[in-house]
Symmetry: C2
Subunit: 337 residues, 2 copies
DNA sequence: ATGAAAGCGCTAACAT
DNA sequence: ATGTTAGCGCTTTCAT
């Protein structure tokens, strides 16, 4: 039923190889023949079978993209940017959701391996060694994680976390809390490391509440813990958690930023729309997606360069941060009511 | 570099075909040989090349899934459910984002055609005829749209819209507005049709504000139009728009539900978290994803049955709807201030 | 139970 | 500029 290269060949009275050339190396075929073949192909509705072609060329013109969780609004902009970039380079992107599960992640890479020219691993939860292992089967570019020897695209969340802490300290906060993300997250470790260092440097205390699911629910559920802590300001692993925290605090009657300041990370679309609007560390998701695609595509030609792109982040101050209130400040000496 | 079936054959001292059988028809091979081959394959890290296998069997064990917009939170639950179902059936799902663009959509289907056993088209923006055309190249299941002769999974949004209108009327509203979605959306037409009918039946007026981008921005931007309209209650094309509208109205100092009631459609996660919590028509996205996968998979065996699954929707009343206020009710006779 | 051979749709030398 | 041939990695008759 599907029309093959052979059908086109017979119908246009040339050999298969000529039809093949018409598509993959047009300049090698007589213009007249070419247009005739093209016409027939069009008329027959012929479409080259990319899978069959890949079997021999070794290039599928497909890229795989695996994300930890499709439902996290941080990813769609990254994915869309990657798709746009890939399209420009005549490639297609197949997305798959790993469900925050390292095993699923691994299985997906293996399943994709032979059908794509490379895989973008976004915020992988697998161990470094598993990723290194996998990278022998298929070219990999890792996003949101740094692994020595592998091409990586990371956002400088460490710098972002530092800026966030500095911002809070400048406002007068001395008791901070960090709402950590999931285990196995490189980003989480980076944030914690920088936040701890920055707090120490500024002479502020930093309580760590961790691990938590990197979701709104996670932030929402953590609201109680935050309230029990003497912290007057909290930095969350990502915007989703920060937003959940906002809701949780509101539910508990704790005013933001009056009683507690909240900072997120990512600057997802929604961060502009909360009440109060969320102060957050903007990460360039779109740029990361494009960079990752570029690295994957050029990595194919030259397997030696394993560049590590570091993208800058930026603190966006909105309404969820303010100086600690007199009431809260007093809590350090007197008891809370 | 990649290890092939031939490598395994030589290493285990049997013929390729035996290795092949070990994987695709284990019962046809001697248990001893089988375990030996399996051991060697494991040790060599052999993975059958699905693409090569597909060339001959005609089945890739991959499914394509194309969504109108990955950034719409309505889709992730559907996608995740579809992936789960596919995994159970030993299939993988490749997702792609059509960017609300019919042309991109078509291109994606064509690109996927030979690499998947079928494609799930979610909320397609293409014309019926284009879809019908494409369905000759690759098995298609359409979600959120009804096309005669094609297997479809639709949510009964018409019934949902009717219930929403009835709910509003029961509360006492007589001036309603419908915030429509994008052109080319089957769902949009269904909603409009049912809402109009239900309003007429109930003796209420229904203004139609359309088309709008089916996004938060779309709803936000429409707030002004809503305020100019005498309507005391509005039904939005989806939750995203309803939430945007909530924000827009808030910005304009219009209280919800005190001055205007708002109803969404979809019941996305976020709808539970807005302030006020959104009254909405819940659509069973997960069930739709699973049903679509099932249809696609059984459709492969039996091309004649083109079932149309209709999934029920349900009105979820939360806090964004209330009786019209005296002030607003008075606006019909006196002038608004 | 296993081997031999043909071929899926296509491309890539190598001829001519 | 075009045809011939071989073969990518795998499955599937058909023999044995």
């Amino acid at each position: 039923m599907p029309v093959t290269i052979r059908d086109v060949a017979t119908a246009s009275g040339v050999h298969m190889s000529t039809v093949s050339r018409t598509f993959s190396a047009p300049h090698l075929v007589n213009p007249e023949t070419r247009s005739r073949v093209l016409a027939i192909a069009e008329q027959l509705g012929y479409r080259p079978n990319r899978a069959a072609r890949a079997l021999i060329t070794g290039r599928t013109h497909n890229l795989g993209l695996i994300v930890a969780d499709l439902a996290n609004p941080f990813f769609p902009p990254l994915i869309k940017a990657a798709e746009g970039q890939a399209r420009q380079r005549d490639h297609h992107i197949f997305v798959a959701d790993a469900n925050e599960d390292p095993l699923v992640e691994e299985e997906l890479v293996l399943a994709m391996a032979k059908q794509v020219d490379g895989v973008l691993l976004c915020s992988p939860r697998m161990s470094n060694s598993v990723i290194e292992q996998l990278s022998r089967d298929v070219p990999l570019v890792v996003v949101n994680r740094s692994i020595p020897g592998l091409p990586c695209v990371v956002m400088d969340v460490g710098q972002g976390a530092r800026r966030a802490v500095e911002h809070l300290v400048e406002l007068g906060h001395r008791q901070l809390a960090l709402l950590g993300g999931p285990r196995g997250s490189w980003t989480n470790r980076e944030i914690r490391r920088s936040a701890v260092a920055a707090a120490r440097l500024a002479g502020a205390e930093l309580a760590i509440i961790s691990p938590n699911p990197p979701t709104e629910e996670g932030g929402y559920a953590a609201a109680e813990l935050v309230v029990r802590d003497p912290a007057t300001a909290v930095l969350a692993y990502n915007d989703l958690m920060a937003i959940g925290l906002l809701e949780g605090l509101d539910e508990l009657g704790v005013g933001v930023p009056d009683q507690v300041s909240v900072v997120g990370i990512d600057d997802i679309e929604l961060a502009r729309r909360t009440r109060p609007k969320l102060t957050t560390v903007a990460t360039p998701a779109g740029a990361a997606g494009r960079a990752a695609v570029d690295m994957l595509l050029q990595h194919g030609d030259d397997r030696r360069t394993t560049a590590q792109a570091v993208l800058q982040t930026e603190l966006v101050v909105r309404e969820s941060t303010a100086p600690p209130s007199a009431a809260a400040a007093g809590a350090e000496t007197s008891n809370r009511e």
